[in-house]
């Protein structure tokens, strides 16, 4: 694992300045973990395609760009600047982050049911130190991965959601990460911590958007701890400009009989890597991982799943659909790890891909590591073009060729969208997908 040394040095120098700047801000208790993380990054550097987990993705464009740590912004955005990103019908809690920092003037962190907390992580560093000390950086393993190490060393802000035992956050929590065009490319390390205690419930939406087209890098990590019988629905929406770099990790720790759904829709970004890593630590857990990625132009989208069954009687379902046009490159890696004691595991994985052009490319790689003997694991991947028989069938019923193609593409994407239970989000995503399709206008009219 070699790295581009100058890039690595830039981050190490930046860290020295960062440490000085944050001295005396009440986060001293974090110093050991930050230092351990940066030390680990110094060893690991950025991954290369020689690393098995990064075989199909070169992060050289990230390593070779001289990103600056985002300084507190002097750009004051008004609510109308971000109006375009609102999800209609979603009357919930919204936290807005501008270039990685919480923007209270644009956010509406309440009202919430009794005892639940939704705040910025920066606030939580002082207000919720006990919970943070118990959970923060305990799950996303910075020893394994350079990006996680970087995030852990530099984490400053993000969202903190804490739902106490037996409570339900009725409305979805919308986390909007806005990046603006800046003179120099900047890097942000959004860090989110979601703690759902026993028998509690919440819906969280992470939504990455761009204001203007500039080169920048978001290196995000979300740790979610779901207690016994807890229910988490997590959505990740990537709709940034085609110049944005985005590496994100969702690391979920699932308690006994917990129920987690992770929904991902990738539409934007130049180079996007989305890691989803649930560990089903308690018995009888249930995990749905549902994803849709749609790439065009020269976009690169890498979906990296690592589903760990660590206890008996857990079910996991992975459904990933990819649509690739232009010269885009998609990757799906689906690793299922069944630990020795995780008997009666039921794990299923399906990845379907449509290639719309000759030059589009997909690499689909399932990986099963099974150390228990009484388990059910299946996986399947398909790569194909639009079904000509289906096109003919639709045309035979009077539907024009282009409309037929649009219906089929939307149908293919729709299979993923239909699994999303929160209606305003699903509708919103349907709109984004229709907009993405070249024939989208036709679909709007045919609704």
């Amino acid at each position: 694992m070699t790295a581009v040394t100058p890039a690595k040095d830039r981050y190490l120098e930046s860290f020295a300045r960062f440490e000085q700047a944050t001295t005396g801000n009440g986060q001293e208790w974090l110093r050991p973990v930050r230092q351990a993380a940066i030390a680990r990054f110094a060893e690991l550097g950025f991954p290369t395609p020689r690393d098995e987990d990064w075989r199909f993705t070169s992060v050289a464009p990230i390593a070779q760009t001289s990103f600056k740590r985002a300084e507190p912004s002097r750009i004051a955005l008004a609510p109308r600047d971000i109006e375009q990103f609102t999800v209609p019908g979603l009357k919930g809690v919204q936290l807005v982050f501008v270039n990685g920092r919480y923007a209270p003037a644009l956010s509406s962190p309440g009202p919430l049911s009794d005892g639940a907390t939704v705040s910025s992580l920066a606030q939580a560093f002082t207000d919720a130190r006990t919970v943070l000390e118990q959970h923060l950086a305990r799950y996303a393993d910075y020893a394994r991965d350079g990006f996680t190490a970087l995030n852990t060393a530099f984490m400053e802000d993000g969202a903190f959601v804490h739902v106490p035992r037996g409570r339900v956050v009725e409305t979805p929590v919308h986390l909007l990460y806005v990046s603006t065009a800046t003179a120099d490319p900047i890097v942000t390390h959004p860090r989110n911590l979601i703690v759902l205690e026993e028998d509690s419930q919440a819906v969280i939406i992470e939504d990455y958007v761009s204001l203007g087209a500039g080169v920048y890098f978001s290196n995000a990590i979300t740790e979610a701890v779901v207690g016994q019988n807890g229910v988490l629905d997590h959505y990740l929406i990537e709709r940034e400009s085609h110049q944005a770099f985005n590496i994100s990790t969702l690391r979920v720790e699932q308690g006994r009989s917990s129920n987690v759904a992770s929904h991902t829709v990738l539409l934007g970004g130049a180079l996007v890597r989305n890691n989803v890593h649930p560990v089903m630590a308690g018995e009888g857990g249930d995990c749905l991982i549902n994803g849709l990625f749609m790439a065009t132009g020269r976009q690169h989208m890498d979906n990296f799943m690592r589903v760990e069954h660590a206890s008996p009687h857990c079910d996991s379902r992975q459904f990933y659909h990819g649509i690739l046009d232009g010269q885009s490159h998609g990757v799906f890696s689906g690793r299922i790890i069944v630990h020795k004691d995780a008997q009666k595991t039921d794990a299923k994985q399906t990845n379907k891909n449509l290639l719309l052009s000759e030059e589009a490319q997909i690499d689909s790689k399932p990986q099963l590591e099974i150390y228990a003997d009484d388990v059910k694991c299946t996986h399947g991947a398909t790569i194909g073009q639009i079904d000509e028989d289906a096109i003919f069938y639709l045309r035979c019923r009077g539907i024009a060729l282009e409309a037929a193609r649009a219906l089929l593409l939307f149908g293919f994407a729709g299979e993923s969208l239909q699994r999303m239970k929160v209606e305003p989000i699903r509708r919103h995503l349907e709109g984004l997908v229709r907009h993405w399709l070249p024939q989208g206008k036709m679909l709007e009219e045919a609704r």
Partner: protein, 256 residues
């Protein structure tokens, strides 16, 4: 309504239809029967506009227009409907959405107002009952997870909804049990009218007990070797296609 003149069709380097002649008038029901591989499905598909077949000779005139020059969707809008032998499953595309898109495309072409969601649902619910189908199928993806019988009934239901002028049924009876067969026949008989023509492509005579044709044609090795009335179907059932095969190329109408 439809005139097929000396039609020659090739696919995959083989000549499949070798000079088919057929004239169908409004109000008539024709059955095209033949052994497997005789070209009867090819004929149905060519009429619907399948592009994998190459027409190498002859012409097809529909309502005074050259049918072969029209795209599949234009044919549908002009009133041609083929019930598929193997209806295609389309995951993710809702049945209701598909039917509404189809119906409105055809209505628009006919100069009719497009139906809104309410009008559409009312019409669909009324027609679906006739075919003894569950309304819940409308909420499912097109043909996905439908049983064989449901798929075939679905085709006839679409036919009833789109109200074509020329109906072509491509082996709709294959694989159907007697109850499903009766329901399909009832649906088709309900569509018989002086303005409409129906072509029933089938291997077996059984369906014709319920959809009684005016004319029966025997297609063997790419040619119609014999035409007659409904009694010809019974004769075929009894004696089989064997006597038409082998020497079929020699003469039409066939030898006695």
């Amino acid at each position: 309504m439809l005139e097929i003149k000396n039609l020659y069709v090739r696919a995959g380097g083989h000549e499949i239809l070798k000079g088919v002649n057929l004239r169908v008038n409004a109000g008539e029901v024709h059955s095209i029967m033949g052994p497997n591989g005789s070209g009867k499905s090819t004929l149905a598909q060519v009429l619907a506009g399948r592009e994998t077949y190459e027409v190498t000779g002859g012409e097809v005139i529909y309502e005074g227009k050259n049918l072969l020059e029209m795209a599949p969707e234009e044919r549908a809008r002009e009133g041609v409907f083929m019930a598929f032998q193997y209806p295609v499953e389309i995951p993710g595309v809702g049945s209701a959405q598909f039917l509404k898109a189809a119906l409105n495309a055809i209505r628009k072409a006919r100069g009719l107002e497009e139906l809104d969601a309410m009008e559409f649902l009312t019409l669909v619910k009324q027609r679906i009952k006739v075919l003894g189908m569950d309304e819940k199928l409308l909420h499912r993806s097109v043909n996905e997870g439908f049983s064989g019988g449901e798929k075939k009934r679905g085709e006839i239901f679409q036919m009833a909804l789109l109200e074509p002028r020329l109906c072509i049924m491509d082996e709709t009876d294959s694989g159907l049990d007697i109850d499903a067969l009766k329901i399909v026949a009832k649906g088709v008989n309900g569509l018989r009218s002086p303005e409409r023509a129906i072509i029933v492509v089938t291997h077996y005579q059984r369906l014709l007990d319920y959809i009684v044709p005016d004319y029966v044609h025997v297609l063997v090795d790419g040619r119609i070797v014999r035409s007659g009335g409904k009694e010809l179907a019974l004769e075929l059932e009894e004696k089989g296609y064997a006597r038409f095969e082998g020497g079929a190329g020699a003469a039409a109408p066939a030898r006695r």
